[in-house]
């Protein structure tokens, strides 16, 4: 019991260092910084290099980590945040996600994807305290946590620069008019929170004795959860939130098992978003309204094409296997069609209805698991499952998202991210149904009336047919009165409601139709991979699909298809790009938002 409490406090301290950084940046820049975990990971790697290669003692190592990660924080502010300061908070969310993607994958290229051992340079002393023991490292982590919190407090409330930071956090424009250099404040904040993040990465590496390039993702999630628990922008709240999270996690590990650690954190995240979006410390009042109209991606209208072009391209695509014998090329294109189906479906939520979703992989996964279970366990034929599984997934998807639909902007984005994670963690933990981490193997190939589809051309035609059906349905829907109503919700929720458009109902319709087609894509993938596991469809997939629609153009069905095909085919045809695929996605996302935010197939007039 006492051991658990100490454990929880130590873990809470580790989370605190990330949480105060996230909350402070939210205060100043108005964005939940999704690249925060990547800075944390880089901090850990800097420390690892200094300890294992240079054999430095701990104090200079820490100084080097602080300096290195502060510099990375500065670079992040300059390249991914400041150019978008006026573009709205949801754009900033996307650019920080893209920056995180680039940093994480660059680390993987530089240091390799494997886990590295990080030896603890501190003497292995233990102090007996009642029934438990406390190690020197525990004490050191506690000291670092309390020390930085104290330093931050002194900086914010006792120094002139801190005063400026607090003023900027309250009201950026008013601070600007009072002569505060808000860009400098923003730089300070990113440097400071970067330094904390790097230190926290190093300490976590020392605590668990190992580091790996993707360790930042969990840190971002945990830090965001702690910051939300305390109320975004509230530094003392984030400290409290981190301890609450740390202790809740250690006790759930004790009672439920170690695989539940992340699930409990994600459930806590979702619960706080639903019931206390302003944090535990605030009264239960309504969420601050965030302007959503037009802040997702700036306006654009679909480019006009000759009427025959789209049917002609469909016919051409369908005829392709007659001329192309290379099965590899057909396989790549088939995957492209499936991703295009995902992009078309996400476009209905994020383009047409203007609700940013970071959990699209969750819908894909629901479809894949539904068909794996229905066809392997219950012996349902593929042709039936192709319709039933997406329907099941859509029902589950809408039920899960329904309570979150009243959230707006970044809050909804984080909630959908949490739901996506919750779906994947449920698959990981619900052994009796999903076979847990083993995944489900031996999924039958697609078959109609007993004829199995094995050939590359057959799979190609199946996937293309599914895509065309999806494009047809979504395009018709978006041209109807319903599409008009969904756009009205995107433009102005208050005015839409005043004209009889129920918000929950219409958002549910968008999420339901979208989940149906995303899940259909999951069904197709499950039967062509023949094996799925909880990590087959990840957060990276959600971001990949989001990049596709930003590349093609918001609220543009054909743009989504083009974006998907480009992003799938490009890394396959240009061989050397393969390893850098996700770096490419990140760069494309930032580059598009910076230079052509309305997408390739939209014009800005």
């Amino acid at each position: 019991m006492f051991d658990q409490l100490i454990n929880g406090l130590v873990i809470g301290n580790l989370y605190m260092l990330t949480a105060i950084g996230i909350t402070q940046i939210y205060g100043v820049a108005g964005v939940v910084n999704f690249a925060h975990g990547s800075v944390y990971m880089i901090g850990a790697y800097i420390g690892w290099m200094a300890i294992t290669w240079l054999h430095w003692p701990l104090v200079p190592v820490i100084l080097l980590v602080l300096a290195g990660s502060a510099l990375l924080g500065l670079a992040l502010e300059r390249l991914a945040v400041r150019p978008f300061a006026r573009a709205g908070s949801t754009i900033l969310l996307l650019t920080t996600i893209a920056a995180g993607l680039i940093i994480d994958n660059a680390a993987q290229v530089i240091w390799g994807p494997q886990t590295q051992a990080l030896p603890n340079p501190l003497p292995q002393w233990h102090i007996r305290l009642g029934a438990g023991t406390v190690s020197l490292l525990d004490l050191f982590i506690l000291a670092c946590g309390v020390g930085t919190a104290l330093l931050l407090h002194l900086f914010l409330y006792r120094s002139r620069a801190g005063w400026a930071v607090r003023a900027t956090a309250q009201d950026r424009d008013a601070a600007l008019q009072m002569g505060i250099d808000v860009n400098r404040v923003s730089r300070y904040s990113f440097a400071l929170s970067g330094a904390f993040a790097g230190l926290s990465g190093l300490l976590v590496g020392l605590y668990f004795s190992n580091i790996y390039p993707t360790m930042g993702a969990t840190a971002t999630l945990k830090g965001t959860t702690a910051a939300l628990l305390g109320g975004l922008g509230n530094v003392p709240g984030a400290i409290l939130g981190a301890y609450v999270l740390g202790i809740a996690e250690t006790f759930s590990v004790e009672w439920l098992g170690s695989s539940y650690r992340n699930l409990v954190a994600v459930l806590l995240l979702i619960a706080v978003l639903l019931f206390r979006p302003n944090g535990l410390l605030s009264g239960r009042r309504a969420l601050n309204p965030e302007p959503t109209a037009g802040t997702f991606i700036p306006h654009g209208r679909p480019l006009r094409f000759p009427r025959w072009l789209i049917p002609a391209s469909a016919v051409l695509a369908a005829a392709l296997p007659l001329f192309v014998a290379n099965p590899y090329a057909l396989q790549v294109l088939a995957i492209g069609w499936v991703f295009a189906l995902m992009a078309v479906s996400l476009n209905l939520i994020s383009g047409t209805t203007g609700q940013i979703s970071l959990g699209h992989a969750g819908f894909v996964m629901l479809g894949a698991y539904a068909t794996a279970i229905l066809t392997s366990r219950l012996g349902l034929p593929f042709a039936v499952s192709l319709l039933v599984s997406p329907a099941v997934a859509a029902v589950i998807g809408v039920l899960l998202c329904y309570p979150a639909l009243r959230l707006r902007g970044q809050y909804l984005a984080i909630a959908t991210l949490g739901l996506g994670e919750a779906i994947s963690l449920t698959a990981l933990n619900w052994d009796s149904v999903t076979q847990g981490p083993l995944g489900i193997s031996g999924i039958q190939p697609a078959a109609f009336f007993g004829y199995e589809i094995w050939s590359a051309a057959g799979v190609y035609w199946l996937d293309l047919a599914a895509l065309l059906a999806g494009v047809w349905a979504v395009y018709r829907l978006s041209r109807s009165h319903l599409g008009r109503a969904l756009r009205a919700v995107r433009e102005d929720e208050v005015a839409a409601r005043a004209f009889g458009i129920g918000l929950a109902r219409h958002k549910s319709i968008a999420f339901g139709v979208s989940a149906f087609f995303a899940a259909a894509a999951g069904v197709l993938l499950a039967h062509s991979y023949s094996y799925i596991a909880p990590d087959t469809f990840t957060f990276a997939l959600s971001i990949q699909v989001l990049t596709m629609i930003i590349l093609g153009g918001r609220d543009n069905v054909f743009g989504a298809v083009v974006g998907a095909v480009v992003l799938i085919v490009l890394p396959e045809t240009i061989r050397f790009l393969g390893e850098y695929r996700y770096i490419l996605y990140g760069l494309l996302l930032i580059g598009m938002l910076r230079f052509r935010p309305y997408g390739l197939l939209n014009s800005n007039t």
Binding site: L477, H481, A498, S508
Partner: protein, 290 residues
């Protein structure tokens, strides 16, 4: 029986008692103007009537049925349409689409404003299917509505008709306000709620708007109007309700309200405040007399 009655409505915002038992009636075909200084509670009252917000006490009755506390989209389905003080058009939609959205509650058999939860799932599925299949009768309904939109827009001469397919964000401020009014008319409202329809308009545009309001009046449209321009109020209102600090201070015909000392007091302060009140009264007088 009157069409819309507001009975003893109270509203608090934290410590502020914004409405203190406001009551008034609106009859079929009547135009009632709500006037009063800034902060009197006019827009708060509008938000309660359009069900954007709910009163803490009192009731609001439309056609014999209580509507207070309904969700806003159901109030729209009962025939309440409003314009907003600062002109909330759907920026990225065209003028045509904006006005068609006003007719959303009239898409019979196609959409469903809010049935019971169980039924809601069924009607949502039906609506998705219809919007993908688009059977002929719905296409005809849409075409009929488009014709109707042209009719409504012709109210404003050639201000909006040539801009039918332009996105609303490209319109001038006055044209956005006109689009908003057209959108509200497309709902065929039982009661039309106009929140400062001429705010920010120049004298010519104001005259045009007042002509539009008179035209609607002749067609029997019942209207509730918030307006600061007393000239316009005197020209169009059948009755005036003056609010101050959350209470009705005077109500009656424009002529009686205009000359009521309590109104002048509400705008410029008490008489014993000597010179200040006298000079302020001198400023106000011409606009009240107009």
């Amino acid at each position: 029986m009157s069409l819309l009655s507001v009975r003893g409505v109270h509203k608090h915002f934290g410590g502020l008692h914004a409405l203190k038992g406001v009551s008034f009636e609106l009859d079929e075909g009547e135009t009632v103007a709500l006037i009063g200084p800034n902060g009197a509670g006019k827009t708060t009252l509008f938000n309660l009537i359009s069900c954007e917000d709910r009163p803490d006490d009192g009731e609001i009755v439309l056609d014999g049925q209580r509507i207070d506390g309904l969700p806003a989209h159901l109030a729209a389905a009962r025939g309440l349409a409003r314009t907003f003080q600062n002109g909330r058009v759907f920026g990225n939609l065209t003028v045509l689409e904006n006005v068609l959205l006003g007719a959303h509650t009239r898409l019979e058999g196609l959409t469903d404003p809010g049935s019971r939860p169980g039924e809601g799932v069924w009607t949502a599925l039906r609506e998705i299917a219809w919007s993908i299949i688009q059977p002929r009768r719905f296409r005809r309904m849409e075409a009929g509505l488009t014709e109707e939109v042209r009719d409504i827009l012709s109210f404003f001469g050639d201000r909006l008709l040539p801009r039918l397919h332009q996105p609303a964000y490209s319109l001038s401020y006055a044209n956005r306000r006109r689009t908003e009014l057209a959108r509200a008319l497309a709902l065929r409202p039982r009661v039309l709620l106009l929140d400062e329809p001429t705010a920010g308009m120049n004298p010519t545009e104001t005259d045009e708007m007042s002509e539009v309001i008179l035209q609607l009046q002749r067609r029997g449209q019942s209207m509730l109007l918030i307006e600061h321009k007393l000239e316009l109020v005197m020209a169009v209102a059948h009755r005036v309700v003056a609010l101050d600090a959350g209470e009705v201070i005077v109500s009656g015909t424009p002529e009686t309200v205009r000359s009521d000392p309590r109104l002048i007091e509400a705008y410029v302060g008490k008489k014993q405040d000597g010179a200040a009140a006298a000079s302020a009264g001198a400023v106000l007088e011409p606009s009240l007399q107009a």
